[in-house]
Amino acid sequence: MSSLKTENLSVQFGAVKPVDDVSVEIAAGRLTSIIGPNGAGKTSFFNLLTGLYQPTRGKVFFDGQDVTRMPVHQKVRAGLTRTFQILNVFDTLTVEENIRAAVQRRHGRSAYLFCAPDRHGPVEDELSAVIERVRLQEKRKVRACDLSHGHRRHLEIGLSLATRPKTLLLDEPMSGLGMYESSVMGEFVRELAQELTVVLVEHHMSVVLSISDTILVLSQGRLLASGTPAEIQASPLVQAAYLGTGRYDLPQERAAHA
Amino acid sequence: MPTLAEVVSQLTNGVILGLILALVATGFTMVLSVMGVINFAHGLLFALGAYLALSLLKVVGYWPALIIAPLLVGLIGILLEQAFIRRLYGKDPLFVLLLTFGIAMMGEDLIQMIWGKLAFSIAAPDLAKGSIDLGFMIYSKYRLFMGGFALAAIFSVWLFLAKTPFGAMIRAGSHDSEMVGILGKNLPFIRALVFGLAAAMAALAGIIAAPLWSVRPQMGLDALLPAFLIVVIGGMGSFWGSVLGGLLVGITNSLAVMFVPRFSDLMMYVLAAAVLLYRPRGLLGTRSVLE
């Protein structure tokens, strides 16, 4: 069963085609990673999947339903959400307030005008569970802008989890993290994939190779290859694409260490 | 019911009014898209053009005034940019709009102090006095002159933007905020240039409109509000969008004068609202950095 499916998905801005005729199926309940050099169109692909961009051509299906023209918020309600490469949290709000904004929607509380936001048991219980899940218990009352980079990454994932997604797209959750933090994040992502469909864009190749079920390779907006980590490492096409840039870990080289 | 000749003559009026408004609006949208600044003082510059010409033409005559006044207003525009607006780049756009609010208020009052509260009229130049028989209708020579002049001005600005290196830089800056970075050390110069050019265009429009519109302190607003709506209709940052929007507003207005005279100046709002609902980015607008 596929969670997400695209058909000939393309977007064009002027003469630039960040995503060009991509048709893929992303299996439900698995961890699929998307790799490719910078500018390969990975983030644009996420933007198309979640409705931030409107495709010039092609379709997006989620759980078998055509969601191509569905606005962002409806996709999120249907169970498709994402995190952002450039951190995207509510900087001026505390950790608690961040998560509460996400949780209170499903409790129908966001239209309440005449009560305090933090006095509703079910919302508070769920909020505590999410905060524990992303290990921010100590930071509940800290404003997001005062958190460390790593904690902000956790908060960002917490915000997305609080919407109770069926499919979660993670856009470079390890960027800016150190080696140790990255491996912790890798484990966490693997853990998430036990319960929901995860699509991961990431440059940390060793982590990607060790945790993914399937890998898609994008290059210059097009789908270059797809397969298991072993298949991708063996693909001459992929090696050629990566050799061309030289800036990123070579899959093979990394695999030797893994 | 109006006769056919009346309709044609009104439509021509509309096109000419549209060209004048387009001249105001293209400058306004240039400033908006290159600097992200809503210049509420743009109307003041329009009025200033008319007032300066009013004083100048007594001394130097109509034609020199037509050249000198826009240059002066362009200079004033550059001064405003250098002295005030430049300080607020990169800050909340709310502040710069309020700043231009303040400039517009001070300017309008200064005009009242210098020239008084009463309305003046500027006589048409001898060349364009009287009317002309076009065969199917008799039409005011001055209006034709206005239309032709506005059209020539719009076309020159387009040539400047399309064919000169400065124009290329301005276009780069207005399409993409990242391109602004590439302009690098040229950026302050480009910003001053854009502001000066927009101010001169507004002033020129003010002068050629003056013989038909009375010259009064509040005349700026009569040109500024249509400019707002024209940007909404044509699409933010689009040069030809503003020209198209100007023509549409002008024609709408002239038709409304015939059929619903009392609410004629509301019709452009109806037009803008309709465009906003059905084409949120305007008729020729593309995805903008300002959204």
Partner: protein
């Protein structure tokens, strides 16, 4: 089950501020009398402060800079006037009519602008706000055209004589305090916290599954309705509704005085802004007919010199003074008038 009882300090803080405000406004007429100033200045400050507080639901809480709020204020004023011309007089109905007019006007503009943000939101509210001014000028059968609606009457609720300036002041004060409490409650509700989320990051709010356009429209509707209410009170105050009440200058004034009071970061800030601005307005227009010149100057000064408002500017000034004098005197921030919004529960 609530998790815990709120800490006393968190609950009492706004209560204390409300108490202080009420106290100050109760004694204000005595101060005005001592200074030989008419009570009506106090009344005007209260009404404009209510307008500014309503406006700040959009600017301070939701982060939307509307430049057409005079349209909603003026709609309230005209609604009261028009209702009177159709024989609808009472205080409660007058308030209801003003509220409804502000609400409808805000919904109309809101439907056109709710998907926009930033500078484009400002441009559109400014343009469509001015539309109401044109309607008022042209539809003279209903609105009295350029002269407006004059000769309006103040109502007589509970047999009170509101033509007495002092009685009218306390009548307005009562409405002001109730409205202030309502705005405080809404700002500090689940709905209000969502508006704060939109202000902080609208895109992220959409990615939480919210149709942010609808929340922005709701915020506009509430803000517009309360602005309309303030406009209705103003019509009683000046016994008239004028086209100027709908004019762009009025829209600009409300933005600048909200900023002046520090409304971007403080809940009660707009009240301070209204007091200072209305006071200055009164002073300037009694000395010169060139008030527009000086108002323009105020605009330019505020945005270039203290865009974060008077409280912050005073605090900065005080710290400079302290440093230069070397003494450890008390900080002269107006914390009582404008506590930071973040500190309230």
């Amino acid at each position: 089950m609530t998790r815990q009882t709120a800490p006393i300090s968190a609950l009492s803080r706004p209560t204390i501020t409300f108490g202080l405000l009420l106290g100050m406004f109760v004694v204000l007429p005595a101060v005005l009398q001592a200074l030989g100033i008419s009570f009506s200045l106090g009344t005007e400050i209260l009404i404009i402060a209510l307008f500014a507080m309503s406006y700040n639901i959009l600017l301070g809480t939701t982060g939307l800079a509307s430049f057409g709020h005079a349209a909603f204020f003026g709609s309230g004023a005209y609604a009261v006037g028009i209702a009177q011309n159709y024989g609808i007089d009472g205080a409660a109905t007058g308030l209801a009519v003003a509220f409804a007019a502000g609400l409808c006007a805000a919904l109309l503009v809101g439907l056109l602008v709710m998907k926009k943000r930033g500078i484009y939101f400002g441009l559109l509210t400014l343009a469509f706000g001015q539309m109401f001014y044109i309607v008022a000028l042209r539809w003279d059968g209903l609105t009295g055209g350029e002269t407006g609606l004059t000769g309006l009457r103040r109502p007589a609720p509970f047999g009170l004589n509101l033509n007495d300036q002092l009685t009218f002041y306390y009548f307005i004060l009562a409405i002001f305090m109730v409205a202030l409490w309502v705005i405080w409650r809404i700002t500090h509700s689940p709905f209000g916290s969502l508006l704060a989320a939109i202000k902080s990051n609208e895109l992220r709010t959409q990615y939480l599954g919210y149709d942010t356009a609808r929340y922005k429209l709701a915020a506009m509707a509430i803000s517009g309705a309360l602005s309309g209410l303030a406009g209705g009170l103003y019509a009683w105050f000046q016994y008239a509704a004028y086209p100027q009440n709908l004019f762009w200058i009025e829209s600009g004034n409300i933005v600048i005085l909200t900023l002046l009071g520090g409304g971007l970061s403080s809940f009660f800030g707009p009240i301070l802004g209204a007091a200072v601005f209305v006071g200055a307005q009164d002073l300037i227009s009694s000395y010169t007919e060139h008030w527009m010149f000086f108002f323009g100057l105020i605009f330019i000064l505020v945005v270039t010199a203290f865009p974060n408002g008077l409280p912050e500017a005073l605090a900065r000034f005080a710290s400079v003074l302290r440093r230069s004098s070397g003494s450890a005197s008390e900080p002269a921030s107006s914390a009582h008038v404008a506590p930071a919004r973040g500190t309230a529960p």
